[in-house]
């Protein structure tokens, strides 16, 4: 059990979600085990396993700047926090807030939702299968709150409705943001790749680089490379920084269904490969690109509120097209809009979701484009708030 706890604690630290070891993990089979059995919170949280049908739990105070943001949103929330990003809309629905770190306060909330933000304490999340569920949920809550805080600030800044407290929090959070990526990262493997071993290595290397650079958390993206009429793509629910054995070969001629476990964005990747000249595709959810994609100046738009499904305008952020689209293949699936938007453009941002970039031979250029788009969006964001 200790190995399992260590794996997820390491992942949380590596993704900047917690400060070293500062999380309590619980896993129940026939008996309940804790990562830190001496933590007084064990006694508080153990009843959750008795009263809820769960087998895993994570309780942690997120690392900065997440915690300042989350606690600010929680302290000011009347009812659940309702971010508008894709992760929340699709998987979390909303983020309920608890007043106390007690079983009595948490159980009614966790009966309905996968997470609870506890004012002054942190985040509690659970799973019914493995620790991966609360880990992914924890990461998603941090991401969603970050996006909401900065989106709200920009909106209020533009409308002139900011209060002093929020400005102060904003300044404090901004000071804690990691430095932007200013230098080119170490070179990735050079393509084109024709044999499977080389291209699998290149995919794993690029995926890890994206996470190591802090561009995205490990569960927020997917990656593919096409060679010999086979698209090799990361599996659904895989971690970008740990892709060994998590890449599916999908023949372009559709002669195999082995890709049934491929990323939910397989259709978009296939469309890009078929409609452009690229071989390498990177998709991630860098925060400022997502935030700016939701900043629209059109007033009185009849489609407001459903921008993730449809937008009648040709929108651009930092000269990068912004398109609507939901996860996967539904009628509003991003697979319908992303491939054609990528023609002759360095990348495309999906509204409230993330960025796709491509390259002709290997992942170097795709990664550089991803970095550049996020850097430009970050600069543009702060320009806009200053103007506001």
């Amino acid at each position: 059990m200790e190995d399992i706890f260590k794996t997820y604690l390491t992942k949380m630290v590596h993704n900047g979600l917690i400060d070293g070891g500062n999380a309590l993990l619980g896993l129940a089979d026939a008996k309940l085990d804790w990562s830190h059995p001496d933590d007084p919170a064990c006694e508080t949280l153990a009843p959750l396993f008795d009263h809820l049908n769960i087998n895993t739990l994570i309780f942690a105070k997120p690392a900065e700047p997440y915690w300042t943001i989350i606690d600010y949103l929680a302290q000011n929330a009347v009812g659940p926090i309702t971010p508008n990003d894709c992760e929340t809309r699709t998987f979390l629905h909303d983020l309920p807030v608890a007043d106390n770190l007690t079983a009595e306060a948490l159980i009614p909330i966790l009966r309905h939702r996968k997470s609870a933000i506890v004012r002054n304490y942190g985040i509690v999340t659970y799973g019914t299968v493995s620790l991966e569920q609360p880990f992914v949920t924890f990461s998603s809550v941090c991401f969603a709150c970050f996006v909401k805080f900065f989106s709200d600030f920009l909106l209020e800044s533009k409308s002139g409705s900011l209060d002093d407290n929020k400005r102060k929090i904003f300044e404090s959070v901004t000071a804690m943001l990691p430095e932007p990526i200013q230098t080119r990262p170490p070179e990735l493997a050079r393509g084109p790749f024709t044999n499977e071993k080389d291209l699998l290595h290149a995919i794993c290397q690029a995926g890890k680089q994206v996470v190591d650079l802090g561009l995205v958390d490990s569960s927020f993206g997917n990656i593919s490379y096409c060679a010999n009429d086979i698209l090799y793509i990361s599996q659904t629910g895989s971690f970008l920084d740990d892709l060994a054995d998590c890449i599916d070969p999908c023949p372009l001629d559709g002669s195999s269904c082995a890709g049934i476990t491929a990323s939910s964005e397989l259709s978009a990747h296939m469309g890009i490969i078929k409609q452009t000249d690229c071989r390498a595709i990177l998709h991630g959810h860098p925060k400022f690109s997502v935030i700016l994609s939701m900043d629209c100046d059109v007033e009185c738009c009849e489609h407001r509120g459903s921008c993730h499904k449809f937008c009648p305008y040709d929108r651009n952020v930092c000269a990068i097209p912004v398109v609507s689209g939901e996860v996967g293949t539904g009628p509003y699936g991003l697979c319908h809009n992303v491939p054609k938007a990528l023609h002759d453009r360095p990348g495309v941002i999906v509204y409230g979701h993330g960025v796709f970039t491509t390259a002709a031979t290997d992942f170097n250029q795709a990664l550089h484009k991803l970095i550049d788009i996020e850097s430009q969006c970050r600069i543009e964001y702060f320009k806009k708030t200053l103007k506001g």
Binding site: M1, I4, L27, A28, D29, A30, K31, L52, N53, I54, N55, R89, T90, F91, H93, L110, R111, H112, R113, K114, G127, T128, V129, S130, E132, Q133, V136, Q235, T236, G237, S238, C250, G254, S255, S256, C257, A258, G259, I260, T261, A262, S263, S264, L266, S267, M270, E326, V327, G328, T329, G330, P331, Y332, G333
Partner: protein
């Protein structure tokens, strides 16, 4: 076709008054208390050719929901009777979401005691029967007694007719459905059931199978050849706007699911989409589970079937996933289990034989998994070659109980025992195992062993996380943590079978989203966690019923082959035998989390805590 029919024999005037009174009572209850359910259950007594309406307390619906849960409640007092005792009921139950706009809710449960396993025998089945039944104003049907001659039961709203079906004896499913096509949804049996095959099915609308448990034989012992149902009513929904919102959340998640709606998902290819993956993961049961990969798999996968048979998609009533595939010549494409077992399990490389065997079983009302598995056992024991003509001739012999077919029709456990090699039957509790080799997924191993209806993949469906990576991936080669995972997933699936919705949608949505659907339909505010608690009650009720029939820990076990026999090939990636000690530890852990004693028996304390005593 000309069908003679006879009305029921009770006093007609008295019956009409009573029926009117019941209808008023039922309508009052519906208006004041019930959304989602009608509050009416149809009880049919074949001994007297009579029927009556039962209006259970709403609390019973809240406690067991519908489908598998409610059917189990009405079965429990008769569960120790033999499957062919006239008092043994056959139950058809829908759930509160059926005949509403709830996603994938066009399903129902059929239940009785299984002639094959002796356990409770239930099957969740699609098609339009569940929806039509709900449209008649009934939540379920309970059939007891035995007709003195082969009969049909025809239901049109609240009118019930008993019809002689003696002229239909021996008719195949497709022939019968052609004759009944104007009578609404159909549930029929084929010659396999009439001839006593213990794994015979009830076929819904000609193509949808209430399979695995031998429920066709349950109907045959009551002398029922068919049931038709046609209704015109609506199901009241408490909060239509809330339902629309809840539906949207689920549709969004379904769109995001590669396994359901992806380029290689089951919406496009049917459940056959799993074929490549099972082979690639060394989980394809091959040559009666003596190997885990099939050398001809690439030529027999779902894309190959689609290329050859150019199917169109169809599906259960109200489902947008539409996983059922019908070939251009009108034959159903085999589901994954049938594809796998009629090819790899019996060592057959011929695609047309897979199609023909599947079609033959469906048309004669016989379970494909058990039929193929019994053939695989036969081929192993006799050393005979599974050529096309052998396969089709043997299937025919089983259906018509000729020669060796008479023994094979009793299932592989009985056949292997008769042959003197019981260990060659790949069964749990006498139910033949489906298309996932448990050596490649330890959660599956545990789930097979403890499933209340025997070697069933659907009770906990660990393939979802061990193979399809949903909701998150788990390590398929460890038992660590699996006991509680299996227990929790059993609870969720018991709930799915009771609502009644398709389990496949839980590749994408969770019980959290379905709680919102349930609340909107019924008006009862409830959380996903509370629904899971009801699922736990339903599972425990089934353990109690099995315990009454003598099932203990010794029955919660896998065939020895999985613990002892290394695969007979040189592939270094082939899975190793399961460590028996680890398996037994995991099973003991399951008993703890399920609240059973060390012998897998239910306890009074737990039963009380779950409101079952």
């Amino acid at each position: 076709m000309h069908l003679a029919y006879y009305e029921k024999t009770t006093d007609a005037a008295q019956q009409r008054i009573w029926t009117f009174y019941e209808a008023i009572k039922s309508e009052l209850k519906r208006i004041t208390l019930m959304f989602g359910w009608h509050g009416n259950i149809l009880r049919i007594d074949l001994n007297r050719k009579s029927f009556e309406f039962d209006t259970p307390d709403p609390g019973l619906y809240h406690k067991f929901i519908g489908g598998r849960g409610l059917a189990g409640y009405f079965l429990k007092n008769q569960i120790t009777l033999s499957y062919n005792d006239p008092d043994m009921p056959v139950l058809f139950f829908t759930g509160p979401l059926v005949n509403t706009q709830s996603p994938t809710s066009g399903r129902m449960t059929i239940m009785s005691r299984s002639p094959l396993t002796g356990t409770i025998g239930d099957s969740s089945v699609g098609g339009s029967f569940g929806t039509m039944l709900k449209k008649t104003g009934f939540d379920g049907i309970i059939i007891t007694g035995c007709s003195d001659q082969l009969c049909g039961i025809e239901i049109f709203d609240d009118k019930i007719r008993f019809v002689s079906a003696t002229a239909l004896a021996g008719q195949t499913v497709s022939e019968l459905n052609r004759m009944l096509k104007d009578k609404g949804a159909t549930a029929v049996i084929g010659p396999a059931a009439e001839n006593g095959v213990r794994y015979s099915n009830i076929m819904i609308d000609g193509h949808y199978t209430a399979g695995r448990m031998g429920l066709g034989l349950n109907l045959a012992t009551k002398n029922i050849k068919y049931i038709t149902v046609k209704g015109t009513g609506k199901t009241p929904v408490a909060d239509p706007v809330g339902l629309k919102t809840a539906d949207k959340d689920i549709f969004r998640l379904v769109s995001a699911s590669p396994a359901l709606m992806g380029d290689h998902g089951i919406s496009r290819f049917g459940t056959g989409a799993l074929y490549d993956l099972m082979d690639a993961r060394h989980m394809m049961p091959t040559h009666n589970f003596r190997k885990t990969r099939f050398e001809h798999a690439a030529a027999l996968n779902a894309p190959a079937f689609h290329k050859r048979f150019m199917p169109k998609s169809t599906g259960c009533h109200g489902c947008h996933i539409r996983c059922k595939k019908i070939s251009s010549d009108g034959r159903p494409l085999p589901e994954f289990e049938s594809m796998s077992h009629f090819s790899a399990l019996i060592g057959n490389p011929d695609m047309e034989t897979v199609m023909a065997a599947n079609q033959f079983c469906n048309d004669h009302g016989m379970d494909t998994i058990s039929a193929a598995s019994t053939l695989a056992c036969y081929f192993e024991l006799t050393g005979k070659h599974p050529a096309t003509e052998n396969i089709m001739a043997l299937l025919s012999d089983i259906v018509f109980q000729k020669g060796i077919g008479e023994q094979l029709g009793q299932g592989s456990a009985q056949f292997a025992q008769n042959f003197g090699f019981p260990e060659t039957a790949m069964t749990v509790k006498r139910l033949e195992l489906p298309g996932y080799d448990p050596r490649g997924a330890y959660g599956m191993a545990l789930a097979y062993s403890v499933a209340s209806r025997g070697g069933c993949h659907l009770r906990a469906y660990p393939v979802s996380h061990e193979i399809l990576r949903k909701p998150v991936p788990t390590d398929r080669f460890t038992f660590t943590g699996k006991a509680k995972i299996i227990k929790l997933q059993e609870d969720v699936n018991a709930m799915a079978d009771s609502l009644t919705v398709c389990k496949f949608i839980f590749f994408a949505a969770s019980i959290e989203e379905y709680a919102n659907v349930y609340s909107a339909v019924t008006g009862l505010k409830i959380s996903g966690q509370e629904l899971m608690k009801i699922g736990e009650r339903i599972c425990y009720q089934e353990r109690i019923m099995n315990a009454k029939n003598g099932f203990t820990a010794k029955d919660d076990d896998l065939p020895k082959r999985f613990f002892e026999q290394p695969e007979s090939c040189t592939d270094t990636n082939a899975p190793k035998p399961i460590n028996r000690e680890d398996f037994l530890k995991a099973r003991a852990a399951y008993y703890v989390v399920r609240g059973l004693d060390e012998d897998g028996m239910p306890t009074k304390e737990k039963a009380e805590a779950l409101g079952l005593i």
